[in-house]
Amino acid sequence: MLMLPELIVIAAGFIILLLDLFLAEEKKNILGTLAFAGLLIALGRTLFSFGQQGELFGGRFVVDSVAIWFKIIFLLAGMTTVALSWDRLTGKTTDIASRMKHRGEFYTILLFSTAGMMYLISSRDLVTLYISLELSTIPLFVLVAWDRDNPLCGEAGLKYVILGALSSAVLLYGLGILYGLSGSTDLATISQKITHSPALWLSVAMITAGIGFKLTLVPFHMWAADVYQGAPTPVTAHLSVASKAAGMAFIFLLFYRVLGGAFQEWNILFAVLATITMTLGNLVAIIQQNIKRFMAFSAISQAGYLIMGFLGPFPEGLPSMLFYLYAYIFTNLVVFAVIIFYANETGRENIDDYRGLSRTNPIIAGAMMLGLFSLAGIPPLSGFVGKFFLFSVASKAGFHWLVGVAAINSTISLYYYLRIVRQMYIEPTMEDATTLQISPMLAGTIAITTLGAVFFGIIPFFYETINQTVAASDWWSVITATAR
């Protein structure tokens, strides 16, 4: 039963929705557990179905190794988000302002969004593609604007929803043209029908815009900073990993499956996008004060590195990108977990507020430092390994200048990541500094994600598995088929 994971997630969502109506407030902790359990089971099922390939609904829903890898990401992201939002939803945070209400709806919506993402990577048809995309996006609008009493939240939601609508309109227009050119909504068919023509370029441009929105590629990134800053931090974390991964899935489908053949010589587009994305992200991140906004720009620059994998002979970069996606997600979640922990306890969100954290909570500070270094691409952490592979792909494609830009950029990024490290380690502690209590949930999250961030890169098993399974999947055949 290939669709089981998705169904489990959706079912869990509905169950929570219903229970939420009947349960008394003090009993509602069960909901979080349920959500977590649902995702966990789905994850188990997904892992279990490794190696299976297959399709449903006349090939409109396909499961293969790449899809499975993505689903694992989405499920992990969902679980982490549940874990991260736990204290806020159960009102265990020291800082009152950062508590969140309506956990039932929260979990439901989160699960639906996750399900949408899982469908997204499995879809092989414009219709399903679009539907699942919206299914994954619209709940996020809601989540971003979750805290009704917080004007920033509302502002973030507004910006997100308006720009989201705009981008989906543009995307749809592009898809429409694609449909017009090929007369089919089946991706494989489209990829065989299309030929170079200004209309195709226009549609590609529009699709790129749509994808750029989700993937926060400069110059389609503008919503990111404000939304990340305004949204409740767990949601920000979710956006920064899940939504980006969804964007990745989307771009995989469209550029690998549809435009792959025609796409070989379009490297330059990605080179340019990658360059401006990472550069602008890094430069603007330097001067940020609010750490969430800071992480937004850091995430933008990471997207820049990520799409370097598209350069060069086509499927080459695929495993590297998947690998880096994982590395990035682990690492990013470490940082966000610490941010959430700190905000929960103190309600502080500025970089300067992290002064002397290494004195009060050395272990957490250490985890944060590892996370930041991994983001900056410092060996032997996973962030470095991932980057190294991506750079190598670009270099292999002959884009040495791009490698240079990327390498210099990671130096710049090191500069601003070190700003935080400096606050934590070098600056004197705050006057009112005391050792902060950390909830088991967050502690566990931080521990696991940190281990991930460290060992994912050192132990070759992960990359090699990704590499083999992806090679076994039908993505390569598709590419070679359309490469004509």
């Binding site: 410092i378 270099s395 292999k396 040495h400 210099i408 380690y425 090699e464």
Partner: protein, 505 residues
Amino acid sequence: MGILSWIVYIPFITAVFVVFTPAPKWYLIRWISTVGTGIHLILTAVLTWKYWQVASPDFSSMKTATLTKLYLVERFPWFESWGIDYYLGVDGISVSMIILTSIVIFTGVMASWHVKNRTKEFYVLLLVLVTGVFGVFVSFDIFLFFVFYELAVLPMYLLIGIWGTGPKEYSAMKLTIMLMAGSALILIGFLALYNGAGGQTFDLLELSKVDYPKSFQIWVFPLIFVGFGILGALYPFHTWSPDGHASAPTAVSMLHAGVLMKLGGYGALRMGIYVLPEGAKYWALFFMALTTINIIYGAFGAVMQKDLKYFTAYSSVSHCGFVLFGLVTLNLIGMKGAVIQMFSHGIMTALFFSLIGMVYGRTHTRIIDDMGGLAKIMPWFTTCFYVGGLASLGLPGLSGFVAESHVFLAGFFGNPWHDLGIMRFLTILATMSIVVTAVYVLRGLAKVFQGPIKNPEFAKLTDADITERISTGVLVFTMAAVGMLPWYLIDLIESSLMPFVNRLH
């Protein structure tokens, strides 16, 4: 796990032990680190002996070899699909560098005996850093090399930032960023090497077998050389070094000037000249000019310095200039001189910085003019300082002379590919530095130690205690040993250098 892995990981294991020691027990931490590094020192001796056993039979056959021969190799596949291996091995150069590092870290731990503030983190970072250094010296897979390389560079930020003095954040940040920019260049170069060879393997020796097209070598070599050169304080990228060394705590300056700056020379030799001989030939003269500037400029810069650490830092710039200068002469004598200079300067500058740290710990000033007449109060320190100073101005019988005479001779002998006239001219310029060095060393030392006691406060200061005597004594002894019996070191490295030279022809 073979001996090389032990060599690399003993510091790390020590660090782990330290991590699990409760922070208030700083004396315990101190002892653990001392014992760990002590064990490492012994192990290094064993390694040297083993290396001698296995390698000495080949010394004669290496004369014509064009490919480095590795010993005590440990190799496991790591990322197979990328051709990345966990690949350790040594040749004479690595061994000499390991000896250097092992001595310096041992003395460094001893010299930072009095670090009471956050001792735990201090030793952990120190040991992690030195793990990276050892890793660099033994890894022959350029991915692994790079991993260790950055591992060695980064802890510096915290070490300087937390335990430093003066404008420490600024210096630490500048140092880290500049060095990381350097490693960015190196990364481009490495990836180019990898993909230029068809993207099959990161094995250095395999890559060195590939003969890259000249045009390729011409643009890759400067990336790698400058990338490493930044760490080797290549002019004009040396400016991190004075501030960094001035702000860093004792042991860190020792390690950084003593060992880390050698990574630059080592990398430039191993990754640059060895893999890209054509590029080296193309650029040698240019870099020779730069390094000449290094030598002269550093020396003259040192004359005017007021702060003992800046003083030493500038002299390091000058002396590291000799390393790179020797490398780009592209002949056996020069490269040998470069490696010996790495060793000699490592010991020498470690001695200087440890002494400065110890004296500073007593006088609480590093300003040369504020001191004076310390010789009466601290005879031990004075003696060590003078031995170091004489070594740095190349007095025969101490290690400095062995290296510098090599380098000068090499510059004068020149090589078949470059205009002898220019090379000699540059060499003559470089030789000028021995006078300038004499000037600043003697002025500085005289101001600090000789003459009447400037500050009555100093009269009640004490001379070196036992740990300080051990650490400085070891360094002085090494320096004199190399200076008087240079042939051991020379035999160690010469045969391993032959391939580098033969490849060029």
